[in-house]
Subunit: 239 residues, 4 copies
């Protein structure tokens, strides 16, 4: 199974903020792409400031799974590209939204809710607990793992009830969060995964990359039927 992944990154923080550039000198997308490459997936990257944000029809048509990282510039993503990505998800392309991509146009469009949440930047400890032990997204993951310093995301996370809830986070400051959430939308599969603030080296952590890799495999499209819509005239007599 060769899964073709496109890793999309806003790629602004890394160019503007020295502390972030030190952690991700070539951008968050490069670190994620390297991790997926090492796991044997077929990976390319795309970023906001490329033409069409790097998401041409050609690129999307050969993408099995799109990984999305955005934060400060959600509003600069063109509605036309969002519609293009959305159409591909409906047709079966997988979508993995990381961390602050909870507030991206594409994730909000697919959810139908505000996708709002609580947050706090205090470098506190996060513990992610596996809730669904038999799920392929947690293959090779221990029953919990810790991120030593994380931005807190807390409930209420205003999403529809996930079709499969895989991970719940505990934070030192007293909050909990549904951190690994699967959604089925159209023919596509969507995974929201919480970890990943730009000021911490979280995407270098083995468990985090393992889950992203597993999720890419899980979200890859199969060969189920294309839905048929519209007028089904005339009425047949069935015996």
């Amino acid at each position: 199974m060769s899964v073709s992944v496109t890793v999309w990154n806003e790629f602004r923080h890394e160019k503007k903020v020295e502390a972030i550039a030190k952690i991700y000198p070539e951008g968050i997308h490069t670190v994620i792409a390297n991790g997926l490459n090492e796991a044997g997936l077929d990976v390319r990257t795309a970023t906001l400031d490329e033409p069409e944000h790097g998401l041409t029809k050609e690129v999307l048509n050969k993408t099995d799974v799109l990984i999305w990282w955005g934060h400060a510039a959600h509003g600069e993503v063109s509605d036309e590209i969002v519609e293009r990505v959305y159409g591909r998800v409906m047709d079966g392309m997988g979508l993995i939204c990381l961390h602050s991509a909870h507030y991206s146009k594409i994730f909000k469009k697919c959810m139908g809710t505000t996708c709002n949440l609580k947050w706090r930047e205090a470098g506190e400890k996060e513990r992610l607990w596996v809730i669904s032990h038999g799920h392929p997204i947690v293959d090779g993951i221990p029953e919990y793992f810790e991120i030593p310093q994380a931005e807190m995301y807390g409930e209420c996370f205003d999403i529809p009830e996930p079709d499969e809830l895989v991970l719940i986070s505990w934070f030192a400051g007293g909050e909990v969060f549904r951190s690994g959430c699967c959604f089925h939308r159209g023919k596509g599969r969507i995974f929201y995964f919480r970890p990943g603030h730009e000021t911490y080296p979280i995407y270098y952590q083995a468990e985090v990359m393992k889950i992203i890799t597993n999720a890419a495999k899980w979200a890859a499209p199969g060969s189920g039927p294309a839905p048929v819509f519209g007028n089904r005239q005339p009425l047949e007599k069935l015996e």
Copy 2:
């Protein structure tokens, strides 16, 4: 429990097509409103061609549950009003979308999918089977009931997996359809209910009005907490 319901109708077919005017001389909304009134609910109506489509802030703020019927003029509903209705659903207002409202802007926005389906106008028999016998929406309903002549709606119905699946339809022509679907979005509850083509007297049928009435009671907002979003600085020490 006094539930305040607003019944919204596109109200165009009834004014333009004689055959439809014969069935619903005062509009589909009036028949539904009468049924809810008889059941003791507090009801008003609103239609597309009123100012602000009849859905002013004042009206929506006192509406517990909004019932929506639209078909040919979905595109004429202003985006501003759709956003207003959406905001109220996120805050807890119930929403009941009937029949061709599967393709309304507000329903599609809340679902995050295309909401497309199959259809056929052949006046065929429909049988609606109760799947969830303990659900309050089927109080007083037999295990199945029939609509003698219906427009067929068939799967694939491109919606997210319903949070509660209450009814499945059987059609004489060989199709099935998820006809009664509950969704939780934000603080609001949404019910999609399939029956109701404008060329058949379906809203005069007792089981249909009973389900709409039950759904209005089910979708009425409670007094749960308002979600709190945003920055939760600073980190407290918890013992």
Copy 3:
């Protein structure tokens, strides 16, 4: 809506352990029954050492919702009574299982899983977060509340994915737990609610009793159809 509730308690700890008797001198069931009575519900109690554990056919037939508290003597509950309770749940009686009733015969039978979990008795702080803000079970509840000293229950909680997940707990020692879980089984509704160790005065806490009261109203049976099973010969011709 007058809901008829039976509160069942193992009622052993309170008679044997002085520290527990001080908190619940007349038994946990009495405190819960008093709370429900004050909220206007129609309440009776039943305990393990009564004939038929107090759960005669007559009692169960007039019970809308059964509340269950057990801990050390799950094995002493007779299989015949468990079958009787189970039959009533399938027919629509509500069931609320509190705290250590996660391991009761009736809860395990309805779940189809081991219902095992982690636990620790260290008097640590618990915070319960509302996840589903529009759910009637959290009417009148703030977005979170705390139990100052609680026995910890931690994931993995080996239950099927709840049909509705209402509350998630945070524990000072680093665990999380799905603390308020709704299940639909047969015509009946089941609510599992975590709080309530016998050595802490948790059932005197207003939020806890409010949730139990709300859950009793939520779990009360409606008037949906009785499922019809078995042979449906002969084949009718449908047009």
Copy 4:
């Protein structure tokens, strides 16, 4: 991915009833095993009248996915073997229950409901509609397929709401049925698949064997963490 499958069959009808022996001279299990073998899976069979019903600890421990067909002799399956199978499902073994196995001890135990349904033997037409187009269980399947002559199974099917609903059947006589249902129980995955009466050659039909094959791959265990249960003393201080 080499999946190790054990196909279990009651294997009584085929020995006693000539009409059935003609269709399945070596038993239903042999036809299913041959189909899986051709698809490259590693298959063995087991039957009721073998010692330990063919389900020794050794056999079950090397089984990734157990397929179950039973009908007239559910009561003869020993409770000890049922417990053994159940333990393996909790530990991650997949379970596929076919047709009348809806009423097997192991399926009922995992569901926590009666698993009752309607039925009619009239050789009527069945149409199975794909509801979840992106699900791996429908890889290579058209949007619907027909079984020319089938025993009807109709709703109400008294199961918990499936974790994923993949197929819904339409029957000529006016019934509908949730025919392909996924459940997660413990670490295991369960698929209920309706087709397969002993008097029709249904397991020779390509779509039926394709779905069983897909389901075996889907239900195969992964390498997620083993749940850890029990006492977690002492309380650690977390910073």
